[in-house]
């Protein structure tokens, strides 16, 4: 097992290298962080020339990548534009844990910027994932066991609709109903944006209230797909020979389902969840944007719109590492749950 893990980690290195090159090239060419620097006027030519040089944006792309990767403290850079590089570089590079500093929030460490937002995203995403797993297991199993019943048809239909719906649509609809209309009808209504009401402060009650709509929207979309999956897994499992064997042993139906079918049906869900967890880390960009949740997804959009390469790269690399790690963890958990699988 240890060897397997080591091998997987070694395999991840070229993978991360390809990803980083790909994304870096894309990012460097996606617009100029110095164009207006978030202001209303175009940056003055003198300033743009100077900042390009000082922030290293005038360097050829391979050099920018190199500096990003291994830093530039082994070489000298030209700050004053006199053509000679005389100042020692200070960047350490991502390989030594230096994600660089933001272009937008000049001088602020990318790691700090991301860590500011990461807990918020986790706060939204972890409960969502738990609710989604519980709900989709319950719904999926229920509807598989009552295949072709009216309930099954309704659940299947609803899950298809949820599965086909762009999240912003369900978000807008839920905001419109539970935020706007409930308020208009004088019913207790839910807050639609932000993480808490600043008038009240960041209390647990406030945060939970503000979590309801985003979690609801995310759950509808995600659970729809998951429950379809669980249902089909369950249908497959209950048609397996070993389920018939269990019935032939005279086990009551409940025991057949919980003791024999459920574990087999739920196992593949581990893989699906493992694939989705990193996505959640990105915080369902759209959801956070709509509900103004101060998480990673919104951070990504905000900084992408200003071509802040270090922050965007930082977020994307973090997610890529998370993807690889969670695949590895998924494999390990799977092997732990399923006796048939052994890695070496």
């Amino acid at each position: 097992m240890t060897r397997y893990i080591i091998r997987r980690i070694l395999q991840a290195i070229p993978l991360l290298f390809i990803i980083s090159v790909l994304l870096f090239v894309l990012m460097i060419n996606t617009g100029d962080p110095l164009s207006t620097m978030g202001g209303r006027r175009v940056t003055r030519p003198e300033d743009r020339e100077r900042l390009s040089r000082q922030l290293g944006l005038d360097q050829p792309i391979y050099k920018q990548y190199l500096f990003w990767l291994i830093g530039n403290d082994w070489t000298k850079v030209d700050l004053d534009g006199d053509g000679t590089a005389e100042t020692q570089g200070t960047r350490k590079g991502i390989l030594r844990g230096d994600f660089g500093t933001s272009m937008v929030q000049r001088g602020k460490e990318v790691t700090d910027i991301i860590l500011d937002r990461l807990p918020n995203t986790l706060l939204l995403m972890i409960p969502t994932e738990i609710i989604v797993i519980a709900l989709s297991l319950a719904v999926g199993v229920y509807s598989a066991l009552r295949q072709y019943s009216a309930t099954d048809h309704i659940i299947t239909g609803l899950s298809f609709i949820g599965y086909s719906m762009p999240i912003f649509f369900i978000a807008l609809v839920s905001m419109y109903i539970f935020g706007v209309n409930f308020k208009a009808w004088g019913l207790p209504y839910l807050p639609t944006v932000g993480m808490f009401d600043p008038k009240v402060g960041k209390t647990t009650g406030q945060v939970i209230q503000h979590m309801i709509l985003p979690i609801f929207s995310l759950t509808v979309i995600t659970a729809a797909g998951y429950s379809r999956f669980v249902r089909s897994q369950m249908l497959e499992v209950i048609s397996e020979d070993y389920i018939r064997t269990a019935r032939a042993k005279g086990l009551p139906n409940r025991m057949v389902i919980t003791g024999h079918a459920l574990k087999n049906a739920a196992l593949p869900l581990v893989t699906i969840v493992g694939l989705d967890v990193p996505l959640l880390l990105g915080g369902a960009v759209v959801t956070e944007s709509i509900f103004a949740w101060p998480g990673m997804g919104r951070l990504f959009i905000d900084h992408l719109s200003r071509s802040d390469t270090p922050v965007v790269m930082g977020i994307l690399m973090m997610i890529s590492v998370a993807v690889i790690l969670s695949q590895l963890i998924t494999d390990i958990i799977y092997a732990w749950l399923d006796p048939r699988i052994r890695y070496s």
Binding site: P14, L15, I18, I19, L22, L23, L26, M27, N29, T30, G31, A144, L145, R146, Q147, Y148, H153, T156, G157, F160, I161, Y163, S164, M165, P166, F168, F169, L172, V173, M175, Y176, G179, V180, T192, L235, I238, S239, E240, D241, I243, R244, R247, N253, P278, L279, G282, V285, V286, S289, I290, F300, I301, L304, S307, V312, L316, I319, S320, V323, I324
Partner: protein
């Protein structure tokens, strides 16, 4: 006797070979038995009629006709879906927007299928280091969540793209950009399917036979193996159309999608969240059309999958 072993059924049904039906007939029968698939197909035809047939009733000039005096009018007899921020009729815009959305869905899948089949076929057929390299690349692409990649790519290609003229109409060049980037970010799954198919098919007798008769690699790939893995490609392609339409909606919603003057269902929603309360008709109609389309395509795709997959024989809702 609820929920008993279905494999028995399959076994039994396989035992009673129904000679009377050809595989094609069987497939059609399974598809038709899949009520939701039929519903999806009908819905899809209606939506296509709506988008393309509507063009015979209203001209594109009407879709783009602004009247600032009619700004943000709620739905009425005059404008059944209301008007937008510059007084354009939303009904007519959903008609023309639908054409582009559907076009994007289909064209992006063409890009995706071409890329996915090519990469999957080459990797699966040649194997060795080519396979290793291509699959590493596929895996790398897989590891970046699609929406993130889409957004970065949308910005990458977001510079000035000249308008294109097609069928005597002008489209914003960004339509092509969106098609390409959706294709570029979604081929990985298909490539894996095709590769797996090729890996198993290339050892089969008919391929070995083709080898011995000196058939070229090209023709083995495209004339011998590919036709045998067409079913999963079609199913996955169909479902991809739905995903492509959703992707377009997502990036448009975030403001990086198709640029005006070309309307799509997605970019009609851009900025609509500013009108959640004040002008819900701005986002409800295009949003509903997206949901309906994606839903119908998913139904059809599901039906197709069941139809080509004999294990789904009894799963005819």
């Amino acid at each position: 006797m609820m929920g008993t072993a279905e494999s028995d059924v399959i076994k039994i049904q396989e035992e009673f070979k129904t000679e009377a039906l050809t595989p094609g007939q069987l497939m059609r029968m399974r598809f038709v038995r899949h009520k939701m698939a039929v519903f999806g197909l009908i819905m899809l035809v209606i939506l296509i009629l709506y988008s393309f047939g509507g063009a015979f009733i209203f001209t594109e000039a009407e879709a783009n006709f602004t009247n600032t005096k009619l700004r943000l009018n709620p739905p009425s007899a005059e404008n059944p879906f209301g008007t937008d921020t510059v007084g354009r009729d939303i009904l007519i815009r959903t008609i023309y927007g639908g054409q582009i959305s559907l076009l994007i869905g289909l064209a992006a899948v063409v890009v995706e299928v071409v890329l996915g089949v090519l990469i999957g076929a080459i990797a699966g057929y040649y194997g060795g280091w080519i396979d290793g390299l291509l699959m590493r690349f596929t895996e790398a692409m897989f590891n970046i969540p699609q929406l993130f990649l889409l957004l970065v790519m949308a910005k990458f290609f977001g510079g000035s793209v000249p308008d294109i003229n097609l069928f005597g109409r002008q489209f914003s060049g960004s339509v092509v950009v969106i098609i390409v980037i959706i294709g570029l970010t979604s081929w990985m799954y298909l490539a894996r399917i095709v590769r797996a198919n090729f890996l198993s098919l290339k050892e089969r007798e008919f391929v070995l036979a083709a080898h011995t008769t000196g058939t070229s690699n090209f023709s083995i790939i495209f004339q011998h193996i590919l036709p045998n893995s067409i079913a999963p490609i079609i199913v996955s392609g169909t479902l991809s159309v739905a995903n492509a339409i959703l992707s377009e909606a997502y990036i448009s919603f975030l403001g990086l999608g198709v640029k005006p003057p070309t309307a799509t269902w997605g970019n009609m929603l851009e900025g609509a969240y500013n009108y959640v309360e004040t002008a819900p008709w701005l986002w409800i109609f295009p949003g509903l059309l997206i949901v309906l389309t994606v839903l119908s395509i998913n139904f059809v795709g599901d039906g197709l999958r069941d139809a080509v997959d004999p294990h789904a024989l009894v799963d005819a809702g």
